[in-house]
Amino acid sequence: MADLPRPRDVPEITVDTSLPPEAPRPRRRVGRAGEFLYFAARDRKIFVSLAIVLALLLVAIVGPFLREYGPNEYVGPGMQPPSSEYWFGTTTFGQDVFVQFVHGLGATFFVGLVGGGLASIIGMTVGFVAGYRGGWLDELLNMLTNVVLVIPTLMVLIVIVAYVNARGLLIEAVFIGCTAWPWAARAIRAQTMSLRSRDFVDLARLTGMGTRRIITGEIAPNMSSYLMLTFILLFGNAVLIAATLDFIGLGPTDGISLGLMMNNAVLWSALQLGMWWWFIPPGIGIVLIVGSLYVMNVGLDQVFNPRLRKL
């Protein structure tokens, strides 16, 4: 910077800012990722829940190959309890419950991933923009978020889906993704607003970085753990919503899903006939996936947030 003219009676100040030489200290730096992995690996909650989810995923991927026939084919005598041939027994019509189960698991993972993923993307977009930009844009997005939040969107879905006749798994996932995002948007907005006032964001703004790059390059990476937790919760949420939709008969019109299995079971009096093998496995499947995700979430929260760590 150019020298500013000085008033005459103030003497020059000389400052020696050189530091005395310091003895080199042995460095034991564990990067942040390393620190997280350390705690994550030692947290029993994360370990067990991750194992469960991965195991179920494996079953969903490998399972369909264990039998040559599809889930809705009539392959044997109906109403059979579990046996060595039909591991989960058969339905009233002689369909293999185990095959239905593994295909249903696949559908569940798909909906969780796509539905949860879409909800995450929408939630992040709305949350980041509202939180970072503020002003009227924030007000507008807030209103939008609150409206979608308050309206029982499952009912909207019920009404929508009732009118659309041919439904695929993808459409269901998209529907869910488009309606499950509000609470994520709110949470991300709050976080963004607190990060927005931090120094490194100010610096980035000063260098002329555009909004989009600031969000993707500065803010989001600093919230990465939070975003991951949000995605996990949205995943679980999407699975639950899909199961409920399927249960009322508003799921995909072809294929099979865990919710649909429960629907069929109730419809065909499995309760009264005591055909527990038809409705117990799908429920357990959902509870295991969603429950493990929730527990994993708690564990990860403790990993990322040192204050919550128990000693």
């Binding site: 308050v150 009912m155 006749n165 249960f247 009322i248 309760l271 005591g274 959902i286 429950g291």
Partner: protein
């Protein structure tokens, strides 16, 4: 204060407006024309059909311009006319809803209130007794992860089918007619219990876990530490923590209302309990779009009202909000 409520009211009105508009819009995007085919099925009885055709023409009629259809829809709505049910022809939708409403409310209101209260109490208790953590925490998370209808199915199967303690279908015994007798009341209660229990349990798990976490957070707050440093008994500290932790729980209740109502609806389906949920299900199966839309609107209004009530209550119990508003 007034401005705050005016804003809230405005918001709810806007939301209601959006919901009604969505409801009105949806059938127009459906491929084909499902409604006309339904109407034609029922055109058998001329006089009764006339009322329905009026409504239908007013809101769907192709010879009426779109904006007028929309206005007609609103007019009918504000007059309490939600159309005529196709499946239960010639009953008006409003009548069907009013018949079903008491059953749904009988499930929802006790289950929500009790689950909220008991869950909060238990969560606070669990926060104190850390030895419970090993058992309570996983159980709580499992309960929250359980889809409403599966718990309903489990209870129906175990307590209804296997052990035959409770009935699992209908609101009262099939052989009984509604009357002010003990027998009828007893039958009502018997049939009510399992769906109520199912709703209660899922809610209970969620609130308990939430409360436990909040209480732990409050017990670690500065004011708790200060009181403890001055030797205040645990009871006082806990009571402060509890009262403060209830506030975010209350907010959570408002947010969860949509989910809870949906849970009630699917629970009714499992138990064939003749509330709004069961009727929605039947409406879907029988393609009775008027009934479905009517129930939807009704539920939305209910949820918005409940949200508004909770907003009111919250302002009364949290002095910070009150002060924030009076300050300007």
């Amino acid at each position: 204060m007034r401005r705050y409520f005016a804003r809230k009211l405005l918001f709810y009105l806007v939301t209601f407006f959006v919901a009604v508009t969505i409801d009105w819009l949806i059938p127009r995007f459906a491929p084909g024309d499902p409604v006309t085919s339904m109407i034609s099925r029922v055109a058998a009885q001329p006089e009764a059909a006339a009322a329905m055709m009026d409504y239908f023409n007013g809101t769907f009629g192709l010879d009426v311009p779109i904006w007028q259809q929309y206005l007609n829809f609103w007019t009918s709505l504000l007059q309490g006319d939600l159309g005529v049910s196709i499946w239960l022809f010639p009953q008006p939708v409003t009548r069907v809803i009013m018949d079903a409403l008491p059953y749904t409310l009988a499930l929802l209101v006790p289950a929500v209130l009790l689950a909220f209260w008991a869950g909060n109490k238990f969560g606070a208790f669990a926060a104190r007794k850390r030895w419970l953590d090993g058992a309570v925490l996983p159980l709580g998370y499992i309960l929250t992860a359980t889809p409403y209808m599966w718990l309903a199915i489990l209870l129906a199967w175990l307590l209804g089918s296997v052990w035959q303690v409770f009935p699992i279908a209908g609101a009262y015994g099939f052989n009984l007619a509604p009357a002010f007798t003990f027998q009828f009341a007893g039958s009502l209660l018997q049939h009510w219990f399992l769906p109520f229990l199912s709703l209660f349990l899922v809610g209970f798990g969620g609130w308990a876990i939430g409360m436990r976490n909040l209480i732990i957070y409050e017990l670690d707050a500065d004011y708790s530490r200060y009181l403890s440093s001055l030797g205040a008994p645990d009871k006082l500290i806990r009571s402060y923590a509890y009262k403060n932790a209830r506030l975010p729980q209350l907010t959570g209740l408002a947010l969860q209302l949509g989910v809870i109502v949906t849970g009630a609806l699917v629970t009714e389906v499992v138990f064939s309990y003749p509330g709004l949920g069961w009727y929605s299900y039947q409406a879907i199966i029988n393609q009775d779009y008027f009934l479905l839309q009517g129930i939807f609107l009704f539920v939305v209004i209910g949820v918005l009202l409940a949200n508004f009530v909770i907003d009111l209550v919250y302002v009364m119990v949290d002095p910070r909000v009150r002060l924030g508003m009076e300050g300007g």
